[in-house]
């Protein structure tokens, strides 16, 4: 289970995503359980976070303030954690064009600051981690499409 704090138009939503790998997924928004259907938006340069869209249906044109997106919400190629560790920095932005092999973030593990490189060339569709996050082996970090 992952918990996200998402601010939309100044209002904070605490979103717990129980199992983001299935659709519809069960999420809890500010303590209220909701069912959310995800769809792939591989072509979109910067997809709006679908969780936020459901969490605040009345808000016009919701924009995610927090860049972290549940992994399954974005299509494309996923850059995953090669080992458990801590994210030190994210060096790309959603919508940015990246080349295969370019550094997209830095992972600290076993006292080593390892540059994590893009698994494919394309556009950054989503960023699933923040600096300071702990990640497990194979956790998705960035989606590139």
């Amino acid at each position: 289970m992952s918990t996200y704090s998402i601010t939309i138009d100044g209002k904070v939503f605490v979103v717990e995503v129980r199992d983001a790998s299935s659709s519809p997924a069960q999420v809890v928004v500010n303590g209220v359980a909701k069912s959310v259907a995800f769809s792939e938006q591989a072509q979109a340069a910067a997809p709006a976070a679908p969780v936020a869209a459901v969490a605040a249906p009345a808000q016009p044109a919701p924009q995610p303030a927090a860049p972290a997106t549940p992994a399954s919400a974005a299509g494309g190629t996923k850059v995953t954690a090669p080992m458990p560790g801590k994210i030190l920095s994210v060096t790309v932005k959603v919508g940015e064009a990246v080349k295969e092999g370019a550094t997209v973030c830095t992972l600290e593990a076993m006292k080593m600051e390892m540059p994590i490189s893009a698994a494919a060339s394309g556009t950054v569709l989503a960023i699933h981690v923040h600096p300071g996050d702990s990640v497990a082996y194979d956790d998705p970090l960035i989606s590139i499409g």
């Binding site: 090669p82 600290e108 076993m110 006292k111 600051e113 390892m114």
Partner: protein, 515 residues
């Protein structure tokens, strides 16, 4: 009469050469595969192949087999040369009864195994077989058993190489598994105990042949195979290359090759290769390339456990086995896959008199629940065991981190390293500065008015005193601290110094390695 005799002989030999006939050969080619004989032609030196038992047939009669007695019984065996050196070969012929293994087929393989063992030359098997010939029942099972037995008896006596160029399923997988090196071809080779249909029936898992036991899976995940090639020709070229690094048997040395002046690397760049920050990774492959004869590093098991690099290389023409931590992958930590990969390689080198050069930059064993539950204790012990029991010349270069248990494992002086040197960037200690200070000075730091400042100061003191090669040098735990650019010269000198090394282990039947 003499003419008739010759005509009949030629007729028989031609028939044997045709394998399963034109249609079957065409089907084989359509799959991107070659026939057994085509493969042997490419594997061996031109015109060097001498066939054995071309006229063998099976003598089974059940299930209509009596009418179907192809000459050679689905496997081509014999000997030839690679780079002028004798090797024995068998190549299963999928065009003949699906390359299925019956008693006669197995007897041919067993015969060539015995010859290889008796005469002390490598054996290369090309596998392309549907499996046991069911019509022959227990006879074919007995055939596999005989092959496995010979694989085991020959283990550590002659190099054994398996090349998978088609299906290799069921019991058949265990002959390659018992050999030293397994090659696979992408897209056309598979290895599994039971195929996708049985998997589906038993565990309800949907899986394709390739996902279950293709070349990528076995080189990258299971560790069953060592080399992957895009096609058969590339694969056979890899086999030829590997053979060039191997001695013919356990009593010989690997072939020496004269090094041309232009193949001597310029090691000057080594002086600035290790980054100033201990937290910054660098590519150990570059270090290897700047030490060994140019282009001579031939990596083994490249696709798995990238945190440790193993492979053969030449130092002034002498074949050495390289084992090197790779700080650019998983910080170079020793995990289960890395330990097992390196342990197996070290044991191969020890069995075949190939000196070992170990390049050390290791932060420790990999922490984690998955690692502990996966048996990192037991698996890591394999690497310690392998290094401890090895009696070949062992040379070690510590480039940076050598911490704790991982320091001991990586061919340390204390486990009979013959020549252990360190670069000035080496940090040889029980653990990294931060961890050590946290433990030793926990109370003082907690009670301090400015814990952060005190900690920083203690870390820097620790670093100065312990995170260097000089403490280890003062105890003789390393033999020398050297300028990185001199590494090649030091190692070549060391190899010459150790050329007559004699060391043996206590007499025993065999050890009890923690498998």
């Amino acid at each position: 009469m003499a003419e008739d005799n010759l005509r009949y002989l030629n007729h028989m030999l031609n028939e044997a050469k045709q394998g399963g006939g034109e249609d079957a050969i065409a089907r084989q080619h359509e799959k991107g595969k070659q026939t057994a004989r085509e493969r042997l032609t490419k594997l061996l030196d031109a015109n060097s192949f001498q066939e054995l038992h071309a006229l063998v047939t099976h003598h089974a009669t059940d299930f209509g087999l009596a009418d179907k007695t192809p000459l050679g019984d689905g496997v081509v065996t014999g000997w030839g040369t690679i780079g002028g050196r004798l090797v024995y070969v068998f190549a299963q012929d999928f065009t003949v009864m699906g390359g299925s293994l019956g008693a006669a087929h197995a007897a041919k393989i067993i015969k060539v195994q015995e010859l290889a063992l008796k005469t002390g030359s490598p054996l290369i098997g090309i596998n392309d077989s549907g499996g046991a010939r069911i019509q022959e029942g227990i006879q074919s099972l007995g055939g596999y058993a005989g092959i496995f037995l010979n694989n085991t008896l020959a283990s550590g006596v002659i190099p054994q190489i398996s090349v998978i160029m088609g299906p290799c399923a069921g019991g058949a997988v265990y002959s390659p598994a018992l050999t030293d090196f397994v090659f696979m071809v992408e897209g056309t080779s598979n290895m599994f105990i039971t195929g996708p249909q049985v998997v589906k029936a038993v565990t309800q898992e949907d899986v394709t042949f390739d996902q279950l036991g293709g070349a990528a899976v076995h080189t990258g995940k299971s560790g069953v195979a060592h080399f992957i090639a895009a096609n058969e020709d590339e694969c056979l070229a890899q086999v030829r290359k590997l053979v060039g690094y191997l001695p013919s048997n356990n009593l010989e040395d690997a072939p020496l090759v004269a090094v041309k002046e232009e193949n001597t690397p310029d090691g000057a760049a080594l002086n600035s290769l290790v980054p100033p920050s201990a937290n910054e990774p660098y590519d150990m492959l570059k270090v290897i390339d700047l030490i060994v004869d140019k282009g001579s590093f031939f990596e083994v098991q490249k696709a798995i456990a990238g945190n440790i690099l193993v492979g053969f290389a030449r130092l002034d023409g002498t074949v050495v086995g390289i084992v090197a931590n790779q700080p650019a992958v998983k910080a170079g930590a020793l995990d289960i896959d890395a330990s097992v990969k390196a342990a197996r390689f070290v044991r191969f080198c020890d069995a075949f008199n190939i000196p070992l050069v170990t390049l050390v930059d290791v932060p420790g064993f990999m922490p984690g629940v998955a690692q502990e539950h996966g048996g990192i204790i037991r698996q890591g012990a394999k690497l310690i065991y392998a290094y401890c029991e090895a009696t070949i010349p062992k040379l070690t270069v510590i480039t940076r981190k050598a911490y704790g248990g991982a320091y001991i494992v990586m061919s340390s002086k204390e486990i009979r390293g013959d020549l252990n040197v360190a670069w000035p960037s080496a940090e040889i200690a029980v653990m990294g500065p931060e961890g050590a200070v946290n433990i030793i000075y926990r109370d003082q730091i907690d009670k301090s008015a400015d814990p952060a400042a005190l900690k920083a100061q203690l870390i820097s003191e620790y670093q100065e005193r312990f995170a260097s090669p000089y403490m280890a040098a003062s105890y003789g735990a390393i033999d020398a601290v050297i300028e990185p650019s001199q590494t090649r010269a030091v190692l070549i000198n060391g190899l010459r110094m150790l050329v007559n090394k004699r060391e043996s282990n206590p007499a025993k039947k065999h050890g009890t390695m923690p498998l």
